[in-house]
């Protein structure tokens, strides 16, 4: 499998020594610095921007034994920590076992959750276990903003989880926020919320991946908001985590703290619930599938020898971007963001802060690649967020009477 067929083939050359650490990272490492492992596609929520289009469990999900074998291999490869996500990882019945197994095998875990299973008892367990980081997802500093994206009741669920964690003495949980057009005005409120719970704020970029592709046009921050976000992040410095996801903003001037490069297949990758290995968490698509760890050679073989990863680690052609004076700061931006908005991979990021992608985004005939998988639940439930809420009946509507205008007045499909 090749990433971009039109890319010129570069003959393998001996790896150069020296140079900056970033140059070395671009050439790839013996093992990822950290990797993301989506344990399940099953989820109790149905967030409109879900990167992995989660909802239903994949019946081919790795078994407990297979998952343990993955952890054993990560230990052998000295992958010191993994980011576990999903779906909602905690609804896997063996989740807590796998957590303990990983920690016992020198693989630290940071897991992302919507909070559904973070009861006071689980919070106490987490507080008593070393090498575990908990990241609660929240996409609004108020229920109104959050629930519109993540679904009714999800704000309260996240806050309850944070309260349970701090109540149990769990130190320094993370509040993980995907920055959108709707919540970017709430950055100070998010920070205050994190401070209130003794937590650290983590902001990440909205990617047009998974179901995110459907809402990206509507939710990605405007260019004015990007500038505000950049200024806010520069001021916050290392007090706010970003998963190094805003390096495309480096084109505004000074680079942000952290790694300012695309780590896909070079320093990061993603393992999905069935053991497929993708270049990064934002690129769950056949074009970025490097292999499956159940095949001979396991994860190590995929990481070290897959054709896709070799290509990502070879010198890249960055087209017009190389002529831009900011190229050294942003390095062309996020590969997944370009791919899922139908932009060429050797051109600017769709959110290029210098505005170089505006023309391409407006181009007639720009084709968004079709998703190669979708785990969304088929039927809409009452909790499911709907971005466009047109003429919905208020639940507090007066009792329906005989001469109600609508033939469907009082009809509640969920009650049937």
């Amino acid at each position: 499998m090749t990433l971009v067929d039109e890319r010129p083939t570069v003959a393998p050359v001996a790896r150069p020594t020296g140079g900056s650490l970033l140059d070395q990272f671009e050439l790839g490492l013996n093992a990822p610095i950290c990797l993301t492992w989506e344990l399940t596609y099953a989820c109790n929520l149905a967030c409109v921007h879900c990167l992995s289009s989660s909802g239903k469990r994949d019946p081919r999900e790795l078994t407990t034994k297979q998952a343990e074998a993955v952890i054993d291999e990560l230990q052998r490869m000295q992958v010191f920590y993994v980011n576990i996500g999903g779906g909602e990882p905690t609804i896997r019945p063996d989740f807590w076992h796998l957590l303990e197994y990983a920690v016992a095998h020198q693989v630290g875990v940071k897991f992302s959750t919507n909070g559904v299973r973070i009861t006071p008892e689980r919070a106490a367990f987490l507080a008593a276990t070393e090498y575990i980081d908990v990241q609660i997802s929240l996409d609004g500093a108020t229920a109104e903003v959050n629930d519109r994206v993540r679904g009714a009741g999800s704000y309260d669920m996240a806050i309850r989880a944070l309260e349970n964690l701090s109540g149990a003495g769990f130190k320094d949980a993370k509040i993980s926020v995907v920055v959108t057009r709707k919540n970017v005005e709430q950055l100070d409120d998010f920070k205050a919320l994190a401070d209130h719970h003794g937590a650290t704020l983590r902001l990440t970029r909205l990617r047009p991946s998974g179901r995110g592709a459907d809402v990206w046009d509507e939710l990605h921050p405007t260019s004015a908001q990007q500038r505000d976000l950049y200024n806010w992040l520069m001021k916050a410095g290392e007090n706010v985590l970003t998963g190094d996801s805003f390096f495309h903003l480096a084109g505004f001037g000074e680079p942000l703290p952290g790694l300012n490069l695309c780590g896909a297949g070079r320093v990061v990758c993603l393992i999905d619930p069935i053991g497929d290995v993708y270049a990064c968490p934002f690129a769950i698509h056949d074009n970025f599938l490097a292999g499956n760890l159940l095949h001979p050679g396991g994860f190590k073989e995929v990481w070290q020898n897959s054709e896709l990863f070799a290509e990502l680690r070879s010198p890249q052609t960055s087209g017009a971007c190389t002529k831009c004076q900011h190229f050294d700061s942003c390095r062309g931006g996020c590969m997944a963001a370009k791919f899922f908005t139908g932009l060429p991979l050797d051109g600017p990021d769709p959110e290029c802060v210098q505005g170089y992608s505006e023309g391409a985004l407006k181009q007639v005939g720009r084709s968004i690649p079709a998703a190669s998988q979708d785990h969304s639940k088929p039927s809409k439930s009452k909790q499911e967020p709907v971005l466009l809420q047109l003429g919905m009946l208020s639940p507090k509507a007066p009792p329906v009477h005989g001469c109600a205008e609508s033939p469907l007045a009082g009809f509640n499909p969920a009650a049937i």
Partner: protein
């Protein structure tokens, strides 16, 4: 002359992973990653525990004396980051824990 005559070692919470450019040092206690950007520095750090003192380790790793000041500076910053620790300190801690 400070560190040069002292016995040091990789911190007990730290694991080293060799990489083409040098090594990653991960501190499980602080969850911080440090990068050793020269393979020779990796040899020195990895060899600390086997030497009676830092001088002996530098000699064993065939580091020219002209480069010792640079290595000592690098080791000092690794000490500040908690990547390496003085060896007697852990021995004292162990004795303390046993008594």
């Amino acid at each position: 002359m400070g560190m040069l005559e002292e016995p040091w070692q990789l911190s007990s919470d730290v694991a080293l992973r060799t990489e083409p450019f040098g090594a990653l040092a991960y501190n499980f206690a602080t969850r911080r990653l440090t990068f050793l950007k020269r393979p020779d520095l990796v040899t020195v750090v990895g060899g600390l525990a086997a030497g009676a003192n830092v001088r002996e380790v530098l000699v064993a790793a065939s580091i020219p004396t002209s480069q010792w000041p640079a290595y000592l500076t690098a080791l000092e910053s690794l000490a500040v980051a908690g990547t390496i620790q003085p060896r007697n300190q852990t021995e004292l801690q162990k004795e303390g824990a046993n008594s």
